[in-house]
């Protein structure tokens, strides 16, 4: 098969689109992480993220986070149109740096929790949640 100039162009465009798409979805999560950490290194572990393995209804998925010694914990839903979910800032009278809430998930995806420690370091944990019915309208 011979490639005409037009075919080559089309192929190139298709390949470029394929390459860019996953990156752009990833980049918003990256941007949200960057906004929270300010570019600091994020270590693994040190955060307890509890979420169901399978959530039947993406409209209310119970999640809880706990990170001993944290001053703030951010939750990100990497597969949502907007990955930002919630940020807990713990005050002086907070007994345990843990909190629970209910979130919306658009589909099966990884939920990420990033904790900011008192010494300024960051740690994270992630968990995959399978969602049967998405929770972002449509």
């Amino acid at each position: 098969m011979e490639f005409t100039r037009r075919d080559t162009l089309a192929l190139g465009l298709g390949a470029a689109a394929l390459a860019v798409l996953p990156i752009s979805a990833y980049a918003t999560t990256e941007a949200a992480t960057l906004a929270f950490t300010g570019g600091a290194d994020v270590a693994e572990g040190g955060v307890d993220l509890t979420a169901p393995e399978i959530a039947e209804n993406g409209n209310t998925v119970p999640v809880s986070v706990a990170a001993p010694g944290a001053v703030a914990i951010m939750i990100l839903a990497t597969g949502n149109p907007d990955p930002n979910v919630v940020t807990f800032n713990f005050g002086a009278l907070s007994a345990s740096t843990a909190a629970s809430t209910r979130i919306r998930l658009a589909g099966t995806q990884d939920v990420v929790a990033i904790a900011k420690m008192a010494d300024g370091s960051f740690t994270k944990a992630s968990k995959q949640v399978k969602v049967t019915i998405g929770g972002c309208g449509g």
Partner: protein, 109 residues
């Protein structure tokens, strides 16, 4: 002000001084994400509660920044230290500028 907003909180009536108590809060709010469409295909504008705070006698316990990915009727559960008798003050900040608040007092047993 969005209609039918009713905050509900669960705080123990008494606690030992310096101990930790679990607080549960729920507020009825539709938390419109700004991504849904109505039958005509028009986007329903975003209308959420974007911030929640809990204070005890003026000292911050928890300050939560919320995005549209928080479910309808936002629910939070967390723990607070109770150094002395006093009042917990819970405040929710709506996108439309409304502020909903409620408070509960706790005694030292």
């Amino acid at each position: 002000m969005a209609s039918g907003v009713k905050p509900r909180v669960k705080v123990p009536k008494t606690a030992a001084a310096g101990s930790a108590v679990t607080l549960k809060t729920l507020i009825s709010h539709k938390m419109e994400s700004g991504r849904r469409k109505d039958k005509q295909g028009n986007v329903i504008p975003r209308s959420i509660i974007h911030r929640f705070t809990c204070e005890f006698n003026g000292a911050m316990v928890l300050d939560v920044a919320m995005e549209p990915a928080i479910s309808t009727n936002p629910y939070f559960e967390f723990e607070a230290t109770v150094p002395e008798a006093g009042d917990f003050k819970f405040t929710w900040y709506d996108d439309d500028g409304s502020v909903y608040d409620t408070s509960k007092s706790i005694k030292i047993a």
